[in-house]
Each structure stands twice: as C-alpha cells, then as structure tokens.
Amino acid sequence: MLQNPLLCIAAVGTMAVSLTIVAFFGVLFFNFEELTTSWSRRIQIKTYLEKVPEEQALKDWRQQIESYPEVDSVLYVSREEAFERFRKRLGQNSDLLQGMNPSILPASLEIGLKEGYRHRKGVEAVVAKLKRNPHFSDMRFGREWLERFDSFVMLLKFSAAILGGFLLFATIFIVANTIKLTLYARREELEVMSLVGGTPAFIKMPYVIEGAAEGFLGGFLALAASYLIFSLFLEKSLVSLLLTMGVGQVSFLPPPFQLGLLVAGTALGILGSMTSLRKFVRIRYQ
C-alpha cells in the first residue's frame, strides 16, 4: 500500500463512496421499516360478545385464543371499560352520553398479533379460527386499512429489493473494476514475481491482504461518512417526515448492519483482488 499510495487512495476512495451510498440507502430502509413496524402494532382483531361472559367461560376463551401461534395478547374489554373509552373519545361532546348506561355497548376481546403475523393473511387465519366459536359472531379488523397497509409494505420491500440489488451490483462492479485497474497498473510487478519463481499463493497473498485492508478501510470510511451525513442533514429531514407518519424518532444503522458494512467492505476487497489476480497472475500461457 505504501509503495503505491495513489492507487491505494483511489481504491479506498471508490470503495468508501460506493459503500456510503449503500449505507445511506440502509439508513432510509431501516427507518421506513421502523415506520411499518410501528403501524403494524395497530393491527388487531376485535370480537364483540353478545352477552357478558361468565368468568370461567372468559378464562377458557382467553386460554384458547392465546394458544394460537399467531396471537400475542388477548385483552378483555368490559362494557364499562368500553363505555369509558367511548366517553373519552367523545371528549367535549361526552355529555351526549348523559342518561345512558354501559349496557348500550357490547363487551369485547381485543386480540393482538405477533410481529410476523401482522398482515392480512395472518389476521384472516386467526379470524377463521375464531369463527369456529359461535359466541364470536361480530369481528372487526379493518379490512380496507389492512389491505392498504399490505400493499404499502409490499411496495416498500419491492423497491428496497430492486434498489438495494441494483446498488449492491453497482458497488461490486465498481469495486471489482477499481481493484482490477490497480492490479493492471502493477501487472509487470506480478509478472516479475512469477518469473523469479514465486508460487501463485506467494504472489497473490500480499495483494489479497492489501485488498482486504483497503476494503476494511473503505467500509470504515463509508460508515463514518454516512454517520456524518445522517447527523448533519438526514436526521432532521427524516424526523419531520416520519413524525407526520407516526414514528417518534429516527435512528442510524443498527450495530449488526454497521458491522456488516465493514465485513462487506473487507469481503469485497478480498473477492475483487482474488478475481483480478486470477487474470493477472498466470504462470504459463497456452
């Protein structure tokens, strides 16, 4: 690296810029994913009960529903609690309820789902199971909202896959070609090493280590640059955008992804070097 500082800077710089773009995309993706997770917490099934159940029956139902793999929580909302919630929701107009008693509202069970089942299919699976019980006649789960939510999540994942795949491909392509160019500039050196009896492993090893070091450095610089961009520009604009959508705070890349970026940089450096070296280190031509 010290013998070819300019080539080294070019390789590290290219890797850093490419990986910064990937990291930048990662920040956006993770925050939008957080948004969908936050929205998905609102997904629940409400089943209204015609009569107030007896204590033992309620206990049995809860146990049964909680045993479903999709179900995270079951909350019984009595008529009184429902009436109280309704009063709160009416706010200033709560006096409309004067002279009425809680028996006008039905008791209900609010069923929350585990994270992996917070989508239309998950909800429908639970609803189908609940329908087997004749006491659960009236169920609400916001079908239209759920469909819109599912479409949004689908769109987000699809865009992430397309854009992420494109970015990853572009990064691999750029990094591999940069390393190839740096090795092309040093092909005479490689040829001489081969002529004086260097084995392929002996010749390649320093360049592979150099590629790994450049990749690691590129990944580290990308991490630093993306953090700088995030805290100087992205954080404020993302906060204002996501606050309106219901997410309280935005966050930088999670630690596993940060580590992943360093590993990806190192791996790209190694792979880029190895593939290019295979072309430039030839012991015998046909």
């Binding site: 005479e188 050196e189 040829e191 002529l195 004086v196 009896g197």
Partner: protein, 221 residues
Amino acid sequence: MIRICNLSKSYQKDSAALCDINLAIGKGEFVYVTGPSGAGKSTLLRMLFCGEKPNRGQILINGRNVTRMRTSQIPYLRRQLGVVFQDFKLIKNRTLLENVSFPLEVQGKKRHEVSKKVFQALKMVGLENHLKKYPLEISGGEQQRAAIARALVVDPMVLLADEPTGNLDDQTTQEIMELFKIANARGTTVVMATHNQELIRRHPRRVIVLRQGRVVEDFMP
C-alpha cells in the same frame, strides 16, 4: 543439461513460430540463439522457462521434462533458472536491493543469507553503491546489470537471456558480456538470444541460427 526434441509452436493455424526444433545444450555451455526478427528466438526462450506451452515436442532440463510439468511445479523450476530480458523487467517502485532480494525471498531464504548474497551479486555487477536506488534513478546499462544480479543471485544452473544488450550502447554491451562470461565460467549454462552479429564475432561461442521457426545452422565459429 537441455535437450529439445521435435518442438513446435504455432499461434495461428497457418504460421509456425517454431517448427520441429531438435537441440542439445551441454552443462556449462554458452550458446547464442540468433536469427532475424520473428525467427522464433524469444519463443524458444519462453518455452525454456515454461512461459508458454509447446503444441508438440519435449524439453528436458536437467533430466526433467518441463513440457509435461504441472503448473504448480513451474515456480520451483524457475528458481533454478535465471532470466534476463531486453527491457530489464525490474520492479520500478522497489530499490535495487529489494529487486535483487526478491528471488531469494520467494525461496524463503533467511534474512542474513539474503543480505549477504544480494550484496555479493550487486558487487559482482558493480552496483554495490546503488543499493537504495530505484531502477529509474540509474542508467539503462546499470538497470541491466541489476537484472543480471537478480538472475545470478540464486546461482542458477541455466541463465536465459533474451536480447539482453538490445537497448544498450557498445561499451555497456561489452560490460554485460563480461558478466555473462563470469557466470558461465562459474558453471552456469548460458543461452542468449541476440541478433547482434558483432557481439557473436567478438565473443565467439556456439551459435544456433533460427529462421522462420526452424534451426538452419548450428556451429562453433
């Protein structure tokens, strides 16, 4: 030392770079391979250090058939050969000391042994005061001397030189020839490709003449 049997090489279907070459070069011989440009001199030398594979025929060096040698074995053969080129092929961003050390480092020699041998080799070619210089800081003749030091530092059994004086003036050419003669006197077999007839006349040794890929003459002047 070197035996070549029915060696042929062609890059295109209708033209042969080498055609049915048969040669024997004894241990400690000094041989010129000469002929006009495109006669196949460089191709023959590349075959000898396994830089290329022949289409047909065999090359035996010290009893080993190098044409059938596995690619993984070629580096070990090259450690017993010294190769010198017209364009020197020194690594430009390494000092002369590092350039000449490299063949010994490849062989995993100990540091003190490397230092001793490298200094001796550079002293032999008269560059012991330029250890820390880079190739582009010295003249062409000095660069070729450094390349010869790199070739000789491993005490090769065969020294292959492809137009080693092609880029050099007359006086430097004579200096380089003296170095080859010293190496030869120490027992190294020297095979030198050149089209410089004056050089052959001044330093008469066995001459193999190639023309259009064939041996047309093989004589001792």
